[in-house]
């Protein structure tokens, strides 16, 4: 326990903390009272989310894909979605409630957020269409990629390779150009910096 030194600031009131601390942790800390089912979630999804993320959470245009991509994480082009990649359901509830819909965030009630979360689970084939999500059963949902993450291991896996005395001369045989940005030509036009112009 650390001591107060300056006496600045004032006590935060419970209503203020409740308004701003809406974070939900993987163990369910922060989950509010409430519940929602897949059918209510579908309705809320169509009204608030489908114009960007598709009727079935499959994505629309260049907007993020929310469902699908199972088993693609070792593919050349992985499809990372809630179902194929996200480790925790808490993140879905928390992020949707706090930051979606894009451009009109913080309009969803807790019950709507439970329902939309249930619909996202259903769209990803994780629950059946009669599923009801609530604070009580929230942490029982099994997310497919929950074991798909390791804590940063660069110090163990990369430092032994890269903390070395580097070569200074005749390090390799001659080198050849293997890739050129001009072959792709996707850079926006820009004026070159001409010191004489």
């Amino acid at each position: 326990v650390l001591a107060q030194e300056f006496g600045l600031g004032r006590a935060a009131l419970p209503e203020e903390i409740e308004a701003w601390d809406v974070a939900v942790l993987p163990d369910g800390t922060g989950l509010p009272e409430g519940s929602g089912d897949v059918y209510d979630g579908e309705e809320a999804w169509i009204n608030n989310c489908a114009s960007c993320h598709g009727d079935f959470a499959e994505g629309a245009g260049a907007w993020p894909v929310i469902a699908g991509g199972d088993g693609t994480l070792t593919d050349a082009r992985p499809v990372k979605t809630v179902g194929s990649y996200w480790p925790y359901l808490s993140t879905v509830f928390d992020y949707v409630h706090r930051s979606m819909p894009f451009g009109a965030a913080q309009i969803l009630t807790y019950d709507e957020t439970y329902a939309i979360t249930a619909y996202i689970l259903y769209s990803n084939g994780i629950v059946d269409d009669d599923f009801v999500l609530s604070r009580d059963n929230f942490t029982e949902v099994n997310m497919p990629n929950v074991d798909g993450f390791i804590v940063d291991d660069r110090v163990d896996t990369e430092f032994p390779l890269f903390v070395t005395e580097p070569c200074m001369s005749d390090c390799t045989d001659s080198v050849e150009i293997s890739k050129r940005a001009s072959d792709i030509a996707v850079t926006p036009p820009f004026p070159r910096l001409l010191l004489d112009g």
Binding site: A11, L25, T29, D170, V186
Partner: protein
């Protein structure tokens, strides 16, 4: 390349005065003089004729209460790449590092990365909450924060995705685009530790969660040790208030760590028993490896460097002879101790000259005073930091991580410089 014909000054008689000045200026600094060892065949009218600026007056001191760069420098601006993101609100732009010198980034062209746009908030509206596993949950106004002890430090802020488009090969043509998700500023603010001590962290508190006032919130979890070490709650950058797009009036500075954690428009600091595992540390800012497993909590930005000139946007149009090769190096794990430069694609290296005394977790400027023989070059730079870590090649990184980790690409950059001094982003093998 611009017109650098030898006879440009002789056309002046038939041209307007404005045209004359422009063409004369081109020839004076151009290849014609460089190639002949700076020997003029005719007197330089910029010297022999009285110029308007040497006769008439310039602008008064009341013309510009807060100035912008002179219009000749209008190319030194942020640029974006439309196809990188679905919209320009949750998107990125790039610092013109190819045109900057030294280490301090001018705020007006320092890159932006927002997830729900740059919000406008006044100091009067600003509130900062500290809650969670603390003895005294607190609310601070901006005026409160201004009464706490301040520190100043220079640090780089590099987006975790800087160079991310280059994992699969040479793609964008210019240091601004390949390495410009970075800025380096002198910050003044209150140590995060001081605020946490005012609230009193309880023994069960292991993680500090920080989030912004904007709709995206950008919440991230920081281990308590880092929060109590060197993080700053910053109000000023490069001598003045933060720019709106950089978090006005208050942002978090997390030295050496990925830019995503530098939460802007900081609204709440919460102490929890565990990491929140928010969207920005699960779905995003996790690094997928070739085996389908992803690294999380890859906080530090490893040692990295890039040659800013010559580079694709800054060609060496002066021809053979003396040439300044310059660039930037940095490391999230401490000071830069050395930068090596190669002109032959990594076969041979020379040690560059570091400008000034490198600061930990800050941009460091390097120079090689090169004499160019006019033949094509494959330019590379290789940073070394105080841990002994040597900046790897892209192929070395790919051998460990594969092609889909998106973030933390600190591989060595190669510029192909042709006989005309024009540079291109390439890879070599």
């Amino acid at each position: 390349m611009t017109d650098q014909s030898n006879d440009a000054p002789r056309k002046a008689g038939g041209a307007s005065r404005r045209d004359f000045l422009r063409t004369a200026g081109l020839a004076a600094g151009g290849a014609a003089l460089a190639a002949t060892g700076a020997r003029a065949n005719a007197p330089d009218a910029l010297i022999t004729e009285v110029q308007p600026y040497a006769s008439f007056t310039g602008e008064g001191v009341d013309a510009t209460p807060y100035g912008m760069p002179i219009h000749f420098e209008e190319h030194v601006v942020r640029r974006n790449v439309e196809w990188l993101t679905a919209d320009p609100i949750s998107s990125i732009n790039f610092t013109p590092i190819h045109a900057l010198e030294g280490t301090i980034t001018p705020q007006g062209c320092a890159f932006e990365r927002h997830h729900s746009g740059a919000i406008e908030m006044s100091k009067q509206e600003y509130r900062l909450m500290i809650n969670g596993l603390v003895d005294r949950p607190l609310v601070f106004t901006f005026a409160d924060l201004m009464r706490l002890p301040r520190e100043s430090h220079v640090y780089f802020c590099e987006c975790a995705a800087n160079s991310g488009m280059e994992w699969g090969g040479a793609q964008l043509n210019g240091a601004q685009f390949t390495h410009g998700m970075i800025h380096n500023m002198e910050y003044i603010g209150v140590p995060l530790r001081v605020l946490l001590e005012e609230a009193g962290v309880q023994p069960e508190g292991k993680w500090v969660y920080v989030e912004g006032h904007d709709a995206s919130s950008n919440g991230r979890s920081i281990p308590l040790e880092k929060a109590m070490d060197d993080c700053l709650v910053a109000f000023y950058a490069n001598g003045e208030a933060l720019r709106m797009e950089h978090g006005y009036p208050v942002r978090l500075v997390v030295p050496g760590w990925e830019g995503n954690m530098w939460v802007k428009w900081l609204r709440r600091i919460a102490v929890y028993h565990a990491a929140v595992e928010s969207r920005e540390e699960t779905s995003k800012y996790t690094d997928l490896l070739a085996n389908g497993v992803a690294r999380k909590w890859t906080y530090e930005m490893d040692a990295k460097s890039v040659i800013t000139a010559p580079s694709p946007q800054a060609p060496a149009s002066h021809g053979a002879g003396p040439m300044v090769i310059t660039g930037l190096a940095w490391s999230g794990r401490g000071k830069i101790t050395r930068v090596d430069v190669s002109t032959d694609g990594g076969v041979n290296w020379v040690e560059a000259r570091l400008a000034g005394d490198p600061l930990p977790m800050a941009l460091t400027r390097f120079y090689v005073d090169h004499v160019w023989d006019g033949k094509p070059m494959l330019l590379q730079s290789r940073a070394v930091d105080e841990t002994g870590y040597v900046q790897p090649t892209k192929d070395q990184l790919r051998a460990v991580r594969g092609l889909n980790s998106i973030y933390h690409n600190n591989g060595i950059q190669t510029w192909y410089v042709n006989e005309n001094g024009e540079a291109e982003n390439v890879e070599v093998s």
